[in-house]
């Protein structure tokens, strides 16, 4: 019985070590290390957004909801000093006066583009 338990312990140790090495040699390559949306959002680092600003990130047209969720999270990762909110369209009756888009949509009346880099555009509500 004692010999069985000893062998059992060594078997557990061998499997555990082997798995530890195997995972290092053959890591999961099904997902890219760098998110595909990183390049799209990266210019946000230099966008003229003051810390504490509440900004809306408009959902990109023609992509999945999941992709848009990751765009929003990447925006938060890139600019954690900004309070991000997802929106589908330019806000009408809202206290939001700052909007960031990731596609080439045109702004509605009352908004003007203040900054752009790559596909990113920053819009602000024009003063009345």
């Amino acid at each position: 019985m004692k010999a069985f338990q000893g062998r059992s312990a060594f078997l557990a140790a061998a499997i555990s070590c082997a798995l530890g090495v195997a995972f290092l040699v053959h890591p999961d390559r099904s997902l890219p290390r760098v998110p595909p949306w990183e390049g799209l959002i990266a210019p946000l680092a230099s966008a003229p957004l003051s810390p504490g600003t509440s900004a809306a990130l408009l959902a990109q047209l023609g992509v999945s909801d999941a992709y848009n969720r990751f765009l929003l999270l990447e925006a938060a990762w890139r600019r954690p000093d900004v309070r991000w909110t997802p929106m589908l369209e330019f806000p009408l009756d809202s206290h939001y006066d700052t909007v960031v888009t990731t596609d080439a949509r045109s702004e509605p009346p009352g908004w003007s583009k203040t900054w752009g880099s790559g596909q990113l555009r920053l819009f602000r509500r024009t003063p009345r």
Binding site: S8, F10, L11, A12, L19, F23, L31, R33, P35, L73
Partner: protein
């Protein structure tokens, strides 16, 4: 390099506290004690500063660690003598551990949950200089898990405060956890001969799945949980012997577990129940208090600030349906890794025996029930949960269970009392 500064400070502070701790019987060894108290000191410093309304700064984080390190010089810890054979095998284990720690340290964390949950919160906390409850109340997306206990994000935030990058900081901390898990496994297997203990330490350092540099798991909280449960389980046998230094260790480990993640809180509860059944009441009470206090500390703060998270579904119909589908879903996501992990678990538990077995079985039993309950009551899709969590959940306590199984291994020469090589080796 700045990402490494808070880790180095923790090591200094942990070394100082560990030296005082080692004046008590049953305290952990120099290495594991340093890691345990380094993490506890840094985590506590952040919580206390936040509770006092004081902004986190480099100076305020360095101060407690410096004081603890200075105090350590005045302590006279009990030094247990070690044989030459132990030192030799200890060096072999150290080489295996160093290799793994180096591999972990050089790859900045990059997993998506790290980027959009643990690391993101770390950036936000570092910017605010505190736990930013306003942000947690209204995160950009629930994937950020605002309700999770904050210790792992806090530790990453320390590197950001010192000017480092979250990914590099997480890698630096995780290299420290590698060392801590390995040291705990070395201690847990203590009565075994030195080569077996070296094997246990190597198993600890080369823990599968959780330190893997993959998108799926890089930078996640599981390594910290693995360290906490390893320290807790390693101390349980000494707790049963009424050693004061041991229950302080278990209490510290439970606090770390409870402040890291809900799964950590489940493991801390398992340790507390095991302590209740196998250790003196006063010691068990201290462990339970550390667990409940840490859980309550975060839950009360989060609730008062209105922080919300996923709500478990407790309806019998939901739970029953999930229970019915669990075997099929588990089968559908089964991989060779998962099967190998299960075989390793069965083998490790089959090897656990003696007076330590009841405590181990209680820990495993409570943890298994908690894990099952989490899968059955989660609002998330069952196959998705199993696919992206079951292997890491199984991997977290595995090394310390293997070490517990190795405790009673004796080489034939050492077991024979009248043999020529019968001198104790461990």
């Amino acid at each position: 390099m700045s990402a490494w500064l808070p880790v180095a400070l923790s090591v200094l502070g942990g070394w100082g506290i560990g030296r005082w701790h080692r004046r008590l019987p049953g305290a952990p060894g120099a290495v594991s004690g340093t890691v345990l108290w380094g993490i506890a000191l840094m985590g506590t410093s952040l919580v206390v500063l936040d509770a006092a309304g004081i902004r986190w700064t480099q100076t305020l984080l360095a101060l407690p660690a410096s004081i603890a390190a200075a105090a350590g010089f005045f302590a006279q810890p009990t030094v247990e003598p070690s044989s030459r054979r132990e030192r030799t095998w200890g060096a072999v284990a150290a080489a295996a551990v160093a290799a793994r720690a180096l591999v972990v340290a050089v790859v900045p964390s990059f997993g998506w949950d790290f980027r959009y949950s643990w690391g993101l919160k770390a950036k936000v906390f570092a910017l605010a200089g505190r736990h930013d409850f306003a942000w947690l109340t209204r995160p950009p997306d629930w994937l950020a898990h605002p309700d999770y206990p904050p210790l792992w994000s806090d530790l990453i935030a320390t590197g950001v405060i010192f000017g480092g990058d979250p990914g590099t900081t997480a890698a630096a901390w995780q290299a420290l956890f590698v060392v801590g898990i390995a040291a705990a496994c070395w201690e847990c297997s203590a009565p075994a001969p030195a080569p077996v203990r070296a094997l246990a330490a190597t198993v600890g350092a080369w823990i599968p799945v959780v330190f893997t540099p993959t998108v799926a798991y890089s930078g996640y909280a599981e390594p910290l949980i693995a360290f906490g449960i390893s320290m807790g389980v390693a101390s349980l046998p000494r707790m049963a012997l009424k050693h004061r230094g041991a229950w302080i260790t278990t209490a510290g480990a439970c606090a770390i577990l409870a402040m890291t993640k809900n799964e950590g809180a489940a493991l801390a509860t398992a340790l507390a129940i095991a302590a209740w059944r196998t250790s003196p009441r006063r010691a068990a009470l201290a462990v339970a208090a550390a667990t409940l206090g840490s859980v309550a500390c975060w839950r009360v703060a989060a609730t008062l600030h209105g922080v919300q998270g996923y709500v478990s579904v407790l309806s019998p119909a939901w739970v029953g349906n999930r229970l019915l589908h669990l075997p099929g879903e588990a089968w559908s996501v089964a991989t060779p890794t998962l099967v190998a992990l299960l075989v390793a678990w069965v083998a490790a538990l089959a090897a656990v025996r003696g007076s330590d077995a009841p405590a181990i079985w209680i820990v495993v039993g409570v943890w298994a029930v908690a894990l099952l309950a989490a899968y059955l009551t989660s609002p998330l899709k069952l196959d998705h949960m199993l696919r992206f969590s079951l292997d890491r959940e199984l991997a977290v306590p595995l090394p310390i269970m293997v070490a517990a199984g190795l405790r009673d291994v004796r080489f034939p020469s050492a077991a024979a009392p009248s043999g020529p090589d019968s001198a104790p080796a461990g």
